[in-house]
């Protein structure tokens, strides 16, 4: 009812380029949240949310910034993105900050972004990789693993995560026999696996992406009998990995951002109904990013970034009613009534410090060809 407004959210992801295979689901996740809010009819007195997609190319700063500008020009009220940490930094510095636009990235996880000057305009629904390193070291230690070989995808995410794992693991007395990069999208990993195998280690930790180089490395390592147990950080957790690799993966373990919420499952269900893969990397985070925007706008009663920006931390964190995926309508109602929500979303959102996900993690083990949650940290 009332004066129906339009809320526009930019979805600025790498629809072409090296992570093009992830972004379809990410975009769908974000748009699902928008559709949900619109359908509830409760957002800002019945405003409808439209999504404006634009491409970053993941690695093309020029394109990403140009498209960021385009989004601003089209009058978006917030930007979901960017995806890869590199372009995210560029958009932040060249588009978001100058224009006072709020950005929530679902997937840029580089520790470098934590300290970047952002005028409180930048948030992310994924934790910094620094934290994941600590968690992984903890898990490794508990499992009595004394030495690991480590390979990472050669970008700021992989490198940062590998650094974090190495430092944390060595701090607790573990040995890292080799740290070798692998390039995504190259296909042939014999050289990497050969070196990793030669270096030895109890398990192989693969800080990569599950349907990129990471999968290739695991496949190749299993095939050649180099390793049969793998450590799997967040980028490697997803249903497609055990499905693709098969029973050989049983016994491998890892962790992914997420708290003790049933959000992820709910989200996966919802996604299935929508016809995309809800377990695809960063799709849940994308949903959460979009939802955070809408909740903050509702809380501020405004679509002006300057006004709703400060509310993001509020709606994301306690106190308040916990909100799972699919419950946006309820949340909007509470907020409209002046109440308080604690958005959990698909990933158990908890924003800390400079506005990034706190980093509760789910420990995962692959059993009978499926990821099972062992416990939460």
């Amino acid at each position: 009812g009332g004066h129906a407004k339009e809320v526009k959210l930019g979805v600025l992801l790498g629809f072409t380029g090296p992570i093009e295979s992830l972004t379809a689901a990410m975009g769908a996740g974000a748009e699902m949240a928008m559709a949900e809010a619109t359908a509830s009819g409760k957002l800002l007195d019945g405003a409808s949310v439209t999504s404006v997609r634009a491409d970053t190319g993941c690695i093309d700063n020029g394109l990403a910034v140009a498209n960021g500008e385009k989004l601003v020009a089209e009058g978006v009220n917030g930007i979901i993105g960017g995806d890869c940490s590199g372009v995210t930094g560029a958009i932040l510095q060249n588009v978001a900050i100058p224009n006072g636009m709020v950005m929530i990235s679902p997937s840029a996880t580089s520790p470098g972004l934590t300290t970047m000057e952002d005028n409180d305009l930048f948030f992310r629904t994924s934790p910094s990789d620094a934290r994941e390193g600590e968690v992984m070291a903890e898990i490794l230690q508990e499992r009595d693993i004394s030495s690991i070989a480590l390979t990472y995808t050669n970008n700021d995410y992989g490198k940062g995560l590998a650094d974090a794992i190495k430092t944390s693991f060595e701090k607790v007395g573990g040995e890292v026999t080799i740290v070798a990069a692998h390039e995504d999208g190259k296909g042939d990993y014999s050289a990497e696996v050969a070196s990793l195998a030669s270096a030895g280690g109890d398990i192989l930790v693969v800080a990569g992406y599950l349907d990129q180089g990471g999968l290739g490395i695991i496949q190749s390592a299993l095939d050649s009998g180099a390793y049969d147990t793998f450590g799997l950080p967040g980028g490697m957790i997803g249903d497609s990995l055990p499905k693709n690799v098969g029973s050989d993966l049983d016994g491998s373990f890892g962790q992914i951002a997420g708290s003790d919420s049933k959000g992820a499952e709910v989200f996966a269900e919802m996604a299935k109904a929508e016809g995309f893969d809800g377990t695809s990397a960063y799709a849940p985070e994308s949903y959460d990013a979009a939802a955070l925007f809408l909740l903050a706008m509702q809380a501020a009663g405004s679509t002006d970034p300057a006004e709703y920006g400060p509310k993001i931390m509020e709606v994301a964190n306690a106190p308040g009613e916990p909100i799972n995926p699919g419950e946006l309508g309820k949340a909007l109602e509470i907020l409209a009534a002046g109440g308080d929500v604690d958005f959990q979303g698909a990933t158990g959102v908890e924003l800390i410090g400079p506005g990034e996900s706190a980093g509760s993690y789910r420990e995962i083990e692959v059993k009978d060809g499926a990821n099972t949650t062992v416990k939460f940290r």
Partner: protein, 441 residues
């Protein structure tokens, strides 16, 4: 219509496109934002400079450089090395060691070359050569590895590299040119000196090697961890927004402070880039119209005869290759400055080498103005083909049922139109206007 008029009109056309981008939202293709128009203009200017550099090599000397990406990246590296603040303690921790190791490495290569030159061919030479290389390599690694480790250990989340000189960022532009020139000299010296010309594959390979070094040598520029927040030659928008005098001035233009500041900053870049472009263009034109240009044309027409007429073809090729690459380096430095960050992972041959080639060919190889036009025009399309494609597909799919598989698939694929269209433009130009839009006279 005389050629001059036609060519002026082409430039006017690009200008109009950019003006339209700034002022209208016609057909959803243009964004109607001056900010967006300026972003396109700025990258267009940089692209034009790159195209100018490549045109120098290709148009004037027929040198086929497919390593533009590498020189651009080196320009970016120069920005980090020149303009970032020095990392405290890095130099003492390992910087010295690294330098020594690099000198050692260079000495090894020089030594090996000397052995190859001055010893008579035979087993003895081969063995000595191998010995020099192997010993040199291990000494190099012994010096290099610990130093690198020491440097990378300094605050790795934020630094971990040797840092820069803390000089004004504008100095990084010529420095980028110099760095690229240095690399080009090395490549040219090896590749152009070969009996057959192997420049293409050498540049293609070395560009990949340069990117590999940038990605993996964290001590140099943090590798894939990127260097962010590079200094700028223009004021920060936020500072302007907080400056009452500026806010007032913006108001007098009828803009709010945010819009005013963003446009002001971008215009600042545009002016800087335009100045660089004009200076380079002037220099290229002057050179072209002089006896130097005549000599280059002669070399291009017939190398053997030019050589017999006393022209040192290899040296001239080297000269023009180094110059062209230097220009790409300058453009690369400018681009990194515009981005305010160096992200080695973003360098990709499709975008940084082949796209530049499309610009040069479409613009008109051998003609400096053509290269500039090509740079601006193709960049505009590179950005705008996507919205155009989406509109087109909307049109095509208008009749299809919503949610039909085909429609969804087409809409999703719309962004891949960009590559397709670039190819199409290139083919059409090669077919119907093989000398480009502004041909060599």
């Amino acid at each position: 219509m005389s050629d001059t008029v036609k060519h002026t009109l082409l430039f006017v056309f690009v200008g109009v496109l950019i003006l339209l981008e700034g002022s209208t939202t016609f057909l959803n293709v243009f964004s109607g934002s001056w900010n967006s128009a300026l972003v396109i203009l700025n990258m267009g200017l940089i692209s034009a400079i790159m195209a100018l550099g490549v045109n120098l090599q290709w148009g004037f000397a027929g040198l086929f450089n497919v390593g533009i990406m590498g020189f651009t990246a080196l320009g970016g590296l120069a920005v980090v090395l020149v303009s970032t603040a020095p990392t405290p303690g890095a130099f003492t921790a390992g910087g010295m060691g690294i330098l020594m190791a690099l000198v050692m490495g260079a000495l090894t290569v020089v030594g090996a070359v000397a052995v190859y030159r001055f010893m008579a061919p035979g087993i003895a030479r081969t063995l000595t050569l191998l010995a020099v290389l192997i010993v040199g390599f291990f000494v190099y690694r012994a010096l290099f590895d610990p130093s690198v480790e020491a440097v990378e250990a300094i605050n790795p989340a934020l630094e971990g590299n040797i840092g820069g000189l803390g000089l004004p960022v504008l100095l990084a532009w010529p420095a980028g040119g110099l760095l690229a020139a240095g690399a080009a000299w090395l490549i040219g010296k090896t590749a152009l000196g070969l009996r057959s010309d192997y420049l293409a594959i050498a540049t293609l390979g070395i560009a990949e090697i340069i990117i590999a070094v940038l990605k993996n040598e964290d001590w140099l520029s943090r590798g894939v961890k990127n260097v962010v927040g590079l200094p700028r030659p223009v004021p920060y928008e936020v500072d302007l927004q907080n400056d009452p005098a500026f806010v007032e001035r913006a108001a007098s233009w009828g803009m709010d402070a945010v819009e005013g500041s963003t446009i002001f900053v971008k215009l600042g870049y545009s002016v800087l880039f335009a100045v660089v472009l004009l200076v380079l263009l002037w220099m290229a034109q002057m050179a072209l119209k002089s006896p130097w240009g005549r000599m280059m044309r002669a070399i291009r027409d017939n190398e053997v005869a030019a050589e017999a007429m006393g022209k040192d073809v290899t040296r001239r090729h080297l000269q023009i290759f180094v110059l062209g690459s230097a220009i790409c380096g300058i453009a690369g430095a400018m681009m990194t400055t515009l981005d305010s960050q160096l992200t080695p992972g973003t360098y990709n041959p499709l975008r940084f080498t082949f796209l530049i080639w499309v610009m040069v060919i479409v613009g008109g190889s051998g003609n400096n103005f053509g290269a500039v036009l090509g740079g601006m025009l193709i960049w505009f399309f590179w950005i705008k083909v996507e919205p155009m494609g989406i509109e087109l597909i909307k049109l095509v799919t208008a009749g299809m049922a919503d949610g039909s598989w085909l429609k969804d698939h087409l809409m999703e694929s719309a962004s891949h139109m960009r590559l397709f269209t670039m190819g199409l433009i290139l083919l059409l130009v090669l077919r119907f206007s093989p000398r480009g839009l502004i041909p060599e006279k």
